[in-house]
Symmetry: C2
Subunit: 350 residues, 2 copies
């Protein structure tokens, strides 16, 4: 238990530490920045003085002197999806590991508030932008004064460095999973983002590849919300010959689909299978747990962080756009068809 000196009103500065340790401020700075031109004995004296004065570097002064802030900024368009949380976890871990700091900033959903971006650029050496649903044009026209990487989980087409995800392959995996279970009539609920198109294509090509017919009537367009999934599923269920499985192009609308099915008194997956896309944390929390396509949200954060970290070191990435792969997460909401084959628990993807 060492004694803390009297409550110092003013924070200790380098000068205070230097005086206590009886060295110059530069030597203190050298010690603190791990430069090798200090003897062990002096180094120890400085460390002691730092401890005694409870010294912490003033970041503003340091940034000013260095001409750089050691901080990366993340602009988050929308806080209320579980989506963003995962991404942020990934990138902040990676950035801190690299010895830099992360600060987040929120903006209106549509990135109208570009003032925030200005501020971030003022403080940060680089920016990671988690793209909102529909900000292509605005985002494209920003004049970036620091390196930028976008996390483009919505599949936009901005010509700036970006991390995205293989939507086509994910949708294909999902559809092939259902086909492998025996389903031949598969409803598809899509949205309006660019990603939806790739996902639709994945769905179509999986059908094609399995020699199944593509039926326009089985396609419903929603807006990626839970109620829109609910409505779309109701339409599908009202068809003369409803599908035996529904592929919702995101988890949230898959939840809506599940509600609609239960509402009709049908059982999932016994009567109808449901598969989602995203694997947000809640996907494993609903009943029955949702089979879905995992977007590697955390990894997207990590990749974005690495990309921008590399840029700061002057290393240009091999490609402007890094596409991460998706993965089938098999849970309880999908089962075999026709019903009379063994219980879904015994089914394996093979």
């Amino acid at each position: 238990m060492q004694k803390v000196p009297k409550a110092t009103l003013k924070k200790a500065t380098l000068k205070d530490v230097a005086q206590l340790a009886e060295v110059s401020t530069v030597t203190v700075s050298n010690v603190l920045n791990q430069r090798q031109n200090v003897s062990n004995e002096t180094r120890q004296r400085v460390f002691d003085a730092v401890r005694q004065t409870n010294y912490r570097a003033n970041l503003a002064a340091r940034s000013l002197a260095r001409g750089r802030s050691n901080t990366l900024g993340v602009l988050v368009p929308d806080f209320t999806t579980q989506y963003v949380g995962e991404i942020v976890r990934g990138l902040s871990g990676e950035i801190r590991q690299a010895g830099m700091e992360v600060i987040l900033s929120t903006a209106a959903d549509d990135l109208k508030e570009l003032t925030q971006l200005d501020l971030l650029q003022e403080i940060c050496e680089g920016i990671i932008l988690i793209l909102p649903h529909d900000a292509n044009e605005k985002v494209k026209n920003i004049n970036y004064s620091v390196p930028v990487v976008m996390i483009d989980h919505r599949g936009s087409t901005v010509n700036l460095p970006a991390i995205d995800v293989d939507n086509y392959r994910g949708a294909r995996l999902a559809t092939e999973h259902l086909i492998a279970l025996g389903h031949q009539s598969i409803g598809f609920i899509t949205g309006k983002f660019e990603a939806s198109l790739s996902r639709l294509r994945g769905y179509q090509e999986a059908l094609l590849n399995a020699n199944l017919v593509f039926d326009e009537a089985l396609i419903q367009t929603g807006d990626f919300t839970q109620p829109s999934g609910f409505k779309a599923a109701n339409k599908l269920l009202a068809l003369g010959k409803p599908p035996t499985a529904i592929f919702a192009a995101n988890d949230l609308s898959a939840f809506g689909v599940m509600e609609a099915i239960k509402e009709k008194g049908l059982k999932i997956p016994h009567d109808i299978s449901v598969i989602g896309f995203d694997d947000i944390p809640m996907a494993s929390q609903v009943y029955p747990a949702l089979t879905t396509i995992r977007q590697p949200l955390l990894e997207m954060g990590v990749a974005a962080a690495r990309m921008i970290l590399a840029k700061l070191k002057g290393v240009e990435p091999p490609s402007k756009r890094i596409t991460l792969s998706t993965e089938l997460i098999r849970r309880a909401s999908t089962g075999p068809w026709p019903k009379n084959v063994p219980d879904q628990r015994e089914v394996r993807i093979s």
Copy 2:
């Protein structure tokens, strides 16, 4: 369309602006900080120069010179609940309106990573802490060097300035709502936070007040997650005489409750009513839309912001703890009992 000067590699500084406007740097500073000792003519010249040079103040330099950063920090423990998003929206709006900047920082769920807090204190003039589930002890022992306000939506008992919510009254409102609908046997699913106790008390006293018996068997303890609500509801439904309504002490577990009820083939609210607590955005998105007790998340953010803003001006708040009131949000998941009375749409709280 005025011409932008050649791509300046270096950012313009006060000096550059001053030279262009043919004044001293101090005058530029005065203009920029809206001090009144500058003639209109000079002011105009300065503004023009600022525009031409595309000047933006260097925040590090400004902070250093002023000795303050004009920034407030928010420490967010957990990003994946919709909760936090609302709170952050509220406080950042308020803070920006006051002309200050907001930066967010994440920490591990349990606030173990207090290094983040250190950093924030370095940069910010004040800190708003959104409390995690279980960090009382740790949080209490932090040595805060700047003003702090906690957002205590979990009902902890930290002896630091905090914003919280009237959990007791909310629970009472919820229970009274069900009682008014005719329910006499009301299940209650609680959790383990301090807030759960107040909510339980609200539930009990509402029963007492209506001369209803309090039945231990109708109380289930969960952990505020969706699956825990599911399990708890299953237990309640398995009782010899199951309740006709279930009050889940948070929305997430209410979702689980709804799933369990549907799973049994029962209809909400026809066969059984469900009410939640929180009013997270998704509460209105599920089917049927969840009746719940609204925690004024946005307002909590605003209140926290105002509190800390006041502190920075040297105004101590009248009370250390500000408790905001809760409100019943009537949606579709609660209905009258017994079943044979008119359809729920015609029922009003009176």
